[in-house]
């Protein structure tokens, strides 16, 4: 069982992710963030629960939908928002945009907009940990669409072959853009595929942050002990459409009843209720957490909006590293 400080930490992380994404959603209409955005509202428990157990020097690799992981791993919020505004002060200096977030100071080595593309990269940093004989862990986050790709299968085979310290986190929100999992897979349990490779694999409620935390903790400890990879399929749901701020419910894409069910399983509301029922959180604390996060977000947006844009003459910078 986690101590109270960590329980509150989880809550703060989830609330920060939710509030940052709500703020992005709110500001997006002003057309100052000229980059595609992919919101993960409804999926916050996974990034928070996993990253709680990671050290600063552990690695993570995300996808086009990576705001949550960046925040949960401790990425610099000002630089993240500045990247949304494509400023020089952004985490990728305005070259990446919202799908390419990085903060090497805390082990975030980048995110990819090619589905499944991050799976080999993270398997590679795990190989490096093994060859360098250190105990750094790599976590790769991806969706249910990424398991359709060859990189998923090739990487899992290699990770077990070499017993690499890597954790595969599949955020199964059932939808790859507008294609439901049932249109792409013959079965419903992705974790069985990973299990077929011989990797310890689990399917859990991805909206239950304590469950996610429990399984992640075990997986991290297996990695640190040299016991090899773990696969965790976290069942969840994204509230928003695939891209931008659109709601795509009831207009031919996703059924209202499905959406309503998942709204009733809001991971943050459930967790706040749990913390209050167990006396770990009270309304006063909740309010002060709210204020603290709002201040951070205000500061980040102010920083971003006041930051300079890259200059045309800087176009060719960074194609090659020195």
């Amino acid at each position: 069982m986690l101590e109270n400080e960590k329980l509150i930490g989880l809550y703060k992380t989830m609330q920060t992710i939710r509030k940052v994404e709500r703020k992005i959603e709110e500001e997006y209409k002003y057309d100052e963030m000229k980059t595609p955005i992919h919101l993960s509202i409804g999926q916050e428990a996974i990034a928070a629960g996993v990253c709680l157990h990671l050290r600063k020097d552990d690695y993570i690799f995300g996808t086009h939908r990576s705001h949550a992981q960046y925040i949960a791993k401790g990425g610099d919020l000002k630089k993240m928002i500045a990247e949304m505004y494509l400023r020089k002060t952004g985490c990728s200096l305005g070259r990446g945009g919202s799908m390419h977030l990085i903060d090497p100071e805390v082990g975030i080595l980048g995110s990819t907009a090619i589905v499944g593309g991050n799976i080999p990269l993270g398997t590679g940093t795990a190989l490096a940990s093994k060859l360098q004989n250190n105990d750094k862990v790599t976590v790769i986050f991806f969706g249910d669409g990424a398991v359709d790709e060859g990189t998923f299968h090739e990487s899992l085979n290699f990770a077990l072959l070499k017993k690499l310290p890597v954790i595969y986190i599949c955020e199964n929100n059932h939808w790859a853009i507008n294609s439901h999992q049932s249109q792409r897979h013959s079965g419903e349990s992705i974790y069985r595929w990973a299990d077929g490779y011989g990797i310890p694999s689990y399917q859990i409620d991805g909206n239950d942050v304590l469950k996610v935390s429990e399984y992640a903790e075990n997986a991290v400890s297996r990695c640190r002990n040299g016991e090899g990879p773990t696969f965790i399929e976290c069942i969840t749901y994204r509230w928003k459409g695939h891209i931008g701020t659109v709601n795509d419910v009831g207009i031919g894409f996703r059924p209202q009843s499905e959406y309503d069910y998942w709204i009733s399983k809001d991971p943050i509301k459930w967790y706040a209720d749990y913390l209050k029922a167990t006396g770990v959180l009270n309304d006063k604390m909740d309010e002060s957490i709210d204020e603290e996060i709002d201040q951070l977000i205000d500061d980040a947006f102010t920083f971003a909006k006041n930051s300079p844009k890259p200059l045309p003459e800087e176009l060719m910078d960074f194609v090659f590293a020195d």
Binding site: Y59, F61, G90, C91, S92, L93, G94, R95, G96, H100, I102, P104, L109, G110, T112, I114, G117, I119, P120, L121, G122, T123, G124, T125, A126, L127, A128, S129, K130, L131, Q132, K136, T138, G150, T151, E154, S155, N157, F158, L161, D317, F318, V319, F320, A321, D322
Partner: protein
């Protein structure tokens, strides 16, 4: 004996006398082996992997026995998963290692383009230079003996279109070593293009490690009537053609670019200022390839130096045929270079 070896064994031993301080003469293959051996010994972050690196052949001898010397953690065979292995190499590079990933056929490189083009080559730019990807991809192209359409391609020209990727095309043992050292030291993905028909080529190679800068070509033969710019194995065919042209009192200058990304433009322009005529020869297909890019560069920046149209002597724009008769028609060689030069000078 593997079919590729049957063909290569029939080749004569071409000897290069590079500007080397060493009297020691070794083969292209041994130069690559020695560089990998010395790099593994010198730098613990270097490791080598790919299909067959630890089998008894050791990728045509270039990695033979190294797993016994450095252990299978640093020299290892892989699953046949070219795309993911490229990404795994890129990830390991991001974490501070210096991977050398080997494809025993360049054709197999095509399976890895997502990780090479979408990921490894873009990572520096896409993240504002925050992460480096010091990765070497070795590829070996073959030629002849009915290799056919999927075991003989030279696609380096296609990959010149990829920002963030450097491409080395060494033709001599001296360059094979010096450019491989530079590739390993470089903080970017480097495609290191080897040609099986160069493996027996002999040349002076110092025993110690040395590097050759990227984007610095070399004049292999000086001349005044025509400039022949050659890529990879075509350097040898160009030199043979130049020898024959000399008998006709035609003096050809042969330039070996050594790297096609970056390209040494100045060495081409300086030669053209003398000759005014240009023939470009590459191991790949003609359209959209290395020769196309070089001719575009010349038209763009040095059109005033041209007295005649540019000639490209490359593979025909068809998949490689297996028939020996069709192969002869398909491949560029010294005969074709010779004939084209004679025709150009007559026109």
């Amino acid at each position: 004996m593997p079919w590729t070896t049957v063909q290569v064994e029939k080749l004569e031993n071409f000897l290069f006398k590079d500007n080397s301080e060493s009297d020691r003469v070794i083969s292209y293959k041994d130069a690559i082996f020695e560089t990998i051996d010395e790099s593994l010994a010198r730098d613990s972050s270097v490791f080598v992997f790919g299909e067959g690196v630890d089998d008894p052949g050791g990728v045509f001898g270039t990695t033979k026995g190294l797993h016994e010397k450095y252990g299978r953690e640093r020299v290892f065979d892989t699953p046949i998963s070219e795309n993911s292995l490229t990404g795994i190499a890129a990830g390991a590079a991001m974490a501070g290692l210096k991977p050398i990933f080997v494809h025993s056929r360049m054709d197999f490189l095509l399976l890895s383009l997502d990780q090479l083009v979408n990921h490894a080559s873009k990572w520096s730019y896409m993240f504002g230079g925050k992460v480096k990807v010091p990765l070497v991809i070795r590829t070996v192209s073959a030629r002849g003996w009915g290799s056919g359409a999927q075991h003989s391609q030279c696609i380096q020209g296609m990959l010149m279109n990829v920002p963030g990727l450097k491409i080395a095309v060494p033709a001599t043992p001296y360059d094979a070593k010096g450019l491989l050292v530079s590739s390993i030291m470089d903080n970017n993905p480097v495609l290191f293009v080897e040609h099986r028909w160069l493996y027996k080529t002999m040349g002076n190679v110092p025993e110690s490690l040395y590097s050759i800068p990227f984007g610095k070509g070399v004049i292999r033969r000086t001349g005044s009537d025509i400039t022949i710019v050659a890529v990879s194995y075509m350097v040898i065919e160009a030199l043979k053609a130049a020898e024959k042209l000399q008998a006709e009192n035609i003096s050809a200058e042969v330039i070996d670019l050594r790297t096609i990304k970056p390209i040494d433009e100045d060495i081409i322009f300086e030669s053209l200022a003398k000759t005014g005529k240009l023939l470009i020869t590459d191991t790949g297909c003609k359209s959209g390839g290395a020769a196309s890019e070089i001719s575009a560069l010349v038209c763009e920046k040095a059109f005033h130096l041209l007295k005649k149209p540019i000639i490209r002597v490359c593979c025909a724009d068809v998949p490689t045929p297996a028939s020996d008769v069709l192969e002869k028609a398909y491949y560029p060689d010294s005969e074709k270079i010779y004939t084209q030069v004679i025709n150009l000078l007559k026109s």
